[in-house]
């Protein structure tokens, strides 16, 4: 219940939405899927802005990848056939790992990307893919890489009146494979650890490795030392195990209601190794 919400706007274009956001400042709250907003009781919120009617709700093939509109639902991403095979289904699996179907039917790609909680699954895939976020605001349009987007909380990185309108995905050139893993107590519990990896090249010689970890700290992050360990090297069992060990060393985490720090660290290593093994097995 948002006790002081007095009005709701239904902008038909991004420009209209941005104008209302600019005029309303911190009194405005954007509604997309609404799954987070509905649980808020923020007394500052007076103006609601339902952005689900301004378009940008489909998934289109583009170049070596896709453009996913901000208003696409997570369930659409999870079940869109071309995405289930794109990069070995990495992105579709991460979207399908969120909550239960009725939550994925409501929650949107844009809302999930910006809201990003510690346990959010799709942002880990955006980081592994180095997705690009299409952003529009009062000063015009800009594109931001996932590395930059998640370097600090996106709500701080976005100017108050900016909107994420889409996410662009591109696969690496040449042979590649991805994999995603989530550790949770039940199918729809929040993640204790998330791992997304994207490898390119061959098992004899890895060209690039991107390893993204979620749920261990506030924002998803990349295990860059582990990535460097694999770059240009054979993807042997020893190399994958060492990359997993390096990731564990670089993991900053703490205990929470779901599990201990030690268990989470242990599972980071186990899951990074297994996720890398799954992706490597898809390469020649």
């Amino acid at each position: 219940m948002l006790p002081n919400a007095k009005t709701c706007h239904y902008p038909r274009t991004p420009a209209e939405a941005i104008r209302i956001l600019k005029d309303s400042g911190p009194r405005a709250l954007i509604l997309a899927g609404g799954t987070t907003a509905a649980l808020s009781s923020d007394p500052k919120v007076e103006v609601l802005l339902d952005i689900t009617r301004l378009g940008h709700d489909g998934i289109q093939a583009a170049g070596r990848g896709f453009r996913i509109g901000c208003n696409a639902r997570l369930q659409e991403v999870a079940s869109f056939a071309p995405l289930r095979s794109f990069c070995t289904g990495l992105v579709a699996q991460a979207a399908g790992a969120v909550g239960s179907r009725p939550i994925r039917n409501a929650a949107t790609v844009g809302g999930n990307a910006v809201q990003v909680f510690r346990w959010s699954d799709p942002p880990v895939a955006w980081l592994a893919m180095n997705a690009r976020f299409e952003i529009e605001g009062p000063a015009g349009a800009r594109t931001v890489s996932a590395d930059e987007f998640y370097a600090r909380h996106p709500r701080q990185a976005l100017d108050g009146a900016e909107l994420v309108l889409g996410v662009h995905l591109e696969s690496p050139e040449g042979p590649h494979a991805g994999a995603f893993s989530k550790l949770a107590r039940t199918a729809f519990d929040l993640a204790m650890v998330d791992v997304a990896v994207l490898l390119s090249g061959s098992r004899k010689s890895c060209q690039e490795a991107r390893i993204a970890i979620g749920a261990t700290r506030t924002l998803p992050w990349r295990a860059t030392r582990a990535e460097e360990r694999l770059r240009g090297k054979p993807l042997s069992a020893e190399a994958l195990a060492e990359a997993a060990r390096l990731t564990r060393e670089d993991t900053q985490t703490a205990a929470d209601a779901r599990t201990s720090k030690e268990h989470r660290l242990h599972m980071v290593e186990v899951m990074v190794r297994r996720t890398l093994e799954r992706a490597a097995a898809e390469l020649r």
Binding site: A5, C8, T35, L39, P102, A106
Partner: protein
């Protein structure tokens, strides 16, 4: 504010606070099949169909329903003429206390609308957001499969 919404095929105008949940609005307007359970998106007792898709009424604000199409169990069938899903739940013994049943039936309806002949795995997946604390899920899954069989074109 006024919310214009189609509920179970009837166009309605409701008076709502923009910041209240759709669950609270629907119950105030008499759609009591939409159950108030956990109110945080876990249990699925407040599941409705919004433009044909299963969603949580507790995780939507009333304002988001403007111009949309809602289905609740009140719109599916009556005691005299139950929907095949409702009849199948009775016949398969899938109802015990009944609190989760409306949500289960709507999640199942969304599935059958899209996939008229689901396999058991698809039924389990479609109901993955609906908790039952009485019967367990076996008879509920059997009921959905029975309804699918009876509804086959």
């Amino acid at each position: 504010m006024q919310i214009h919404v189609e509920v179970n095929g009837r166009t309605q105008t409701f008076e709502a606070m923009p910041g209240e949940s759709l669950l609270s609005l629907l119950r105030r307007e008499g759609y009591l099949s939409v159950k108030r359970g956990c109110e945080e998106g876990d249990c699925g007792a407040c599941t409705i169909l919004l433009d044909g898709r299963s969603v949580r009424a507790c995780l939507l604000l009333a304002a988001q329903a403007e111009g949309r199409r809602i289905t609740t169990v009140e719109g599916l069938g009556s005691i005299e003429r139950p929907h095949p899903l409702q009849q199948a739940f009775v016949d398969a013994g899938a109802v015990q206390c009944g609190f989760c049943t409306p949500g289960m039936i709507l999640s199942a309806k969304a599935l059958l609308d899209e996939t008229p002949r689901p396999d058991e795995g698809q039924v389990r997946e479609a109901l993955d957001g609906n908790l039952c604390r009485c019967t367990g899920y076996k008879k509920i899954i059997e009921a959905v499969l029975l309804a699918a069989q009876r509804m086959k074109p």
